[in-house]
């Protein structure tokens, strides 16, 4: 092949596309990944940051305590430790009188610790930080107060919930 050979345009296009793809893969490897836990409550899906979810377990026997509000159904025992239970449906505008939640997601932060009732755990996955979008300004309903972002999961938009906002709604 002579030094003056010029690749056909079609080949130059392919080379350029390959180069861009390689650059994108390098960027993807370096980008920070965030673990999220996707769960269902009623007909909708939500997510927590995975770093806040320490354990997922069956709901089991919840001990009722008098004088607590509806969103605090009581206590559970997890390997000898007493944990409070939160019915997050109250804050999401979901019907709390529907089928009892089957699972509890134990969330722990520096200032908050509680078992969150959920219907099901749908996925635990890593996503790029850039994949978390700001919540739509058109998002309505009581759930909006807890949403800190949105992610795409299997072609579905999932609301990412803020544990700190939930804590502020629960604690006196």
């Amino acid at each position: 092949m002579s030094p003056n050979y010029e690749k056909p345009k079609s080949e130059r296009i392919i080379d350029d596309l390959k180069r861009r793809q390689q650059e994108k893969e390098i960027v993807d490897v370096d980008e920070k990944l965030i673990k999220i836990v996707i769960f269902s409550i009623g007909s909708k899906r939500y997510a927590f940051y995975g770093s806040s979810v320490k354990e997922i377990l069956p709901a089991g026997n919840i001990s009722w305590i008098p004088s607590l509000p509806d969103f605090l159904p009581g206590l559970i025992t997890i390997r000898g430790d007493i944990e409070s239970v939160v019915d997050i449906r109250y804050f999401l505008g979901e019907n709390s009188s529907s089928i009892p939640c089957k699972y509890i997601a134990l969330v722990v932060t520096d200032s908050f610790r509680a078992g969150i009732l959920v219907d099901s755990i749908d996925d635990v996955t890593d996503i790029p930080l850039s994949a978390i979008r700001a919540p739509l300004t058109t998002l309505s309903g009581v759930a909006r107060e807890l949403v800190c972002g949105e992610v795409e999961w299997l072609e579905e938009t999932v609301a990412l919930l803020d544990i700190a906002k939930l804590e502020s709604r629960i604690t006196l």
């Binding site: 008098p66 509000p69 605090l72 007493i82 944990e83 409070s84 006196l172």
Partner: protein, 155 residues
């Protein structure tokens, strides 16, 4: 048992378990001055504990047990419960405080800790604290304490 610095360490705690409104509670036994199964009350006013706790009335008209609770700096108070279930002593280490999420809310009703009994949880109640809050609510006429009883709840 006392520590070298003069502080008293509590090893064991006596717990009396009673039920009211279908819920079992444990109270530190030294809070109880007397038990009156005949619920006569000696002519003194008897308060239905289920009313203070917002629970259903689980006792029949003539059933129930009157517990006389010692009051700090005050006359003893008589409270009606459904029945006495148990009395035992446990190590202090077996008592757990309530999670922070709910502790402040239920402390107004005197509920301060739990004891695990197998798969069940026994709620520990401080009757002195409950009655103190009730008295404060009555004297200040505040509704924020959420402890209101009607004349029907005093026998």
């Amino acid at each position: 048992m006392s520590k070298a610095d003069g502080q008293l360490e509590i090893d064991n705690v006596g717990i009396l378990v009673f039920s009211v409104g279908g819920v079992s509670f444990g109270v530190e036994s030294s809070q109880i001055a007397a038990i009156d199964p005949g619920r006569t009350g000696g002519g003194f006013k008897i308060i239905k504990l289920n009313a203070l706790l917002g629970l259903a009335d689980g006792s029949d008209n003539d059933a129930g047990v009157v517990l006389e609770f010692r009051q700090e700096c005050s006359t003893n108070r008589l409270l009606l419960v459904d029945k006495i279930e148990d009395i035992f002593e446990i190590p202090l280490s077996d008592i757990q405080l309530l999670p922070e999420v709910i502790a402040e809310r239920v402390l107004q009703r005197g509920i301060w800790g739990v004891i695990q009994q197998g798969n069940n949880i026994l709620l520990l109640i401080d009757i002195n604290r409950l009655l103190k809050n009730m008295d404060s609510s009555s004297s200040e006429k505040t509704v924020s304490m959420q402890i209101q009883i009607s004349q029907e709840d005093i026998l």
